[in-house]
C-alpha cells in the first residue's frame, strides 16, 4: 500500500530534481517544467493517481519572496489508496507553454481552458484551447495580478447587437 511518502520517494528516484515541501500535513512536490508530462504520466500510469481533482494557477507577481511569476498547480488523488498529492510547476515569462494533460485525463480539458482563459498559460497539444468563461473577443487574462479589479474598459467596448442584426 503506497503511502504519500513512498510515492514521493519513487518520484524522486525517477526525477532527482523534485523538491518536496510540507504544510498542514500535505506533501507538495515541485517539478521542473521539462519533466512535467513525464511526471504526470508516471503518477497516472505507475503510481495510481487516477483522479485529477483540479488544475489551477497562482500569479506570484506581488508575492513576497517569490522568484517565479506563475505557479501551475495540479491536485491529484489516488482513489484506491486515498492519497492526495499536490504537484506544482513554476513558469516564467515569456515561456508560458506547458504540455497538456488531456492525453492522460480527459477531465483536464476544461480545467486547462480555464487556466488559459484566466492566466494565459498555453497548453501544447490541447485539442480545443479556447476561452471558456470570458468572451472570445476578450484580449486580457483577468486573474493575472497586473489586471485591475475593475477591468480595463473591455466591457464598455463590447459590440452591442441590435435585434435586427442578431
Amino acid at each position: 500500500m503506497p503511502t504519500v511518502s513512498e510515492t514521493i520517494s519513487q518520484l524522486q528516484a525517477a526525477f532527482p530534481s523534485t523538491a518536496v515541501t510540507e504544510f498542514r500535513g500535505e506533501k507538495r512536490v515541485v517539478v521542473k517544467k521539462e519533466d512535467l508530462f513525464a511526471v504526470l504520466r508516471l503518477l497516472k500510469e505507475r503510481l495510481g493517481f487516477d483522479l485529477l481533482v483540479d488544475i489551477t494557477c497562482v500569479d506570484y507577481l506581488n508575492y513576497r519572496g517569490a522568484t517565479d511569476r506563475f505557479g501551475l498547480v495540479y491536485l491529484l488523488t489516488n482513489i484506491a489508496e486515498n492519497v492526495r498529492l499536490t504537484l506544482r510547476v513554476m513558469l516564467n515569462e515569456p515561456d508560458l507553454a506547458v504540455p497538456s494533460a488531456t492525453p492522460l485525463w480527459t477531465g483536464a480539458d476544461w480545467l486547462e481552458r480555464e487556466v488559459w482563459d484566466m492566466f494565459g498559460i498555453q497548453f501544447e497539444g490541447h485539442p480545443d484551447l479556447r476561452r471558456v468563461l470570458m468572451p472570445d473577443e476578450f484580449t486580457a487574462h483577468p486573474l493575472r495580478k497586473d489586471y485591475p479589479m475593475q477591468g480595463r474598459g473591455e466591457r464598455h467596448n463590447f459590440p452591442v447587437l441590435r435585434r435586427a442584426e442578431s
Partner: protein, 406 residues
Amino acid sequence: MPITPATLRNANSSEQDYLWTLNFGPQHPATHTTLRIVLKLDGERVVDAIPDIGYLHSGFEKIGEHLDYNQYVTVTDRMNYISPIANNVAWHHAVEKLLGIELTPRCKYIRTLICELARISDHLLSTGAMGLDVGAFTFFLYAFYQREKIYDIFETLCGARFTNSYTRVGGVMHDITPLVIEKVRAFLREFPKTIDEMEKLVNRNRIFVDRMKGVGVLSKEEAINRSATGPVARASGVTRDLRKDEPYLAYKDLDFKVCCAKAGDCFARYYVRIAEMRESLKLVAQAVENIPAGPVNVGVDERAILPTKQQVYQTIEGTITHFELVMTNRGFTVPNDESYGAIEAPNGELGFYLAGDGSDVAYRARCRPPSFIHFSMFPYLIRGHTLSDVVAVLGSLNIIAAELDR
C-alpha cells in the same frame, strides 16, 4: 446514414448540410439558469453538443483576492445557490485549514447538521427539477414543499432563508437555539413520509423510468477519467465520498453509508440522490441529538473570531483580540503558504485552493467547482441521444450556472 461525431469533424461542410443547428438557451426553462448549448441535430438525434458558458461569470475568484476571509463568505453563498450553507462551510473549512484553527466540538456538530440539511435541500431541488423536466410536475411540488421547511429552519438559525452566510472563521455567526432543534425534530418526523411518497410517484412510473434509464451512461472508468465527484461519480460506481475518505467535522463519530449505483445513467444519478437524502436524514437525526455542550466558537487566544461583548469589556484578552481583529491594519495571523481544503458538497467535491500572504485577504482563492467539471462531460453524455434527453441529462448532472461560471 447516421453521422457519428468522428465523421462530423472530418466531413466537409457540404456533407453535413442536412444537420440542423439548434441553440439551446441561454434563456430556456429547462436550463434553469443561464447557459447555452449549441446542438447539432440529425432529425431528432443529437450528433454533437457544444456548450457555451460564461454568461454568469462575475469574477468570484478575483473578488476573493480583495475581500477578507470573513467577507468572502457572502460571495460563496452565490456560487451554488441551492445549497449555500454548504458553500459557507466549504470556504471556512479551507480557510481554517490554511490558518491552522481547530474548531470546538459543538461547532463541528452544528456545521455537520447544517451541511446535511443543505444536502437534503439540494437533492430535493435537483431530483425535483429532474422530475419537472421530464414531466413529473407533482413530484417537484412535493419536493419543494419540504425544501421550504428547510428554508424555515435556516431562517430560524441565522435570519436568512436563502443566502445564509452562517459560518465565520473559527466558528459560526451565533449559537444554535432550542427553537431550531425543535424545528429540525419536526422536520425529521415529517420528511420520511414525503420521501416515500416521492419514490412511490416516480420510481416505477413508466414515463419517468423510460426517459431516465439508459440515458447519458457514464462508465466508472470514464467518471474517474473525467474527474467526476459526488453523486455523479457514485452513480457510476466510484466509491469515493470525502465524508468517509477524509473525515472532516463530526463525520467520524456518526454512522452513515455511502450510496452508490452501478448503472451510471440518469436514473442511477436520481436514485443515488434519493438514497443520499435518506442517509443525510440519519446523519441529521444523530447530529441534532448529540450536539455537545460547551463554547461554539474558538477561544480568544486563537485570534480568529470576535469575542463576546462580555469578554471584550471584562477581560484584557478579549479587548486585545477585539482590537486585533477590528483594526484595518491587523487581522488574522495567516501563514505565507498554500493549502487546499475540500468538503463533500451536495454536488461533489467543493474545494478551495488558498494562497495566504500574511494579510487577512487571500492572495489567491481558487474554487474547485463540481458543476464546471460535470458540465464538461455533457457533450460526451448526450451524443447519440435525442433532443428530449438533453433536459434529462442536464437535470441529472445538477448544473448550477452560478457555480459553473463563478
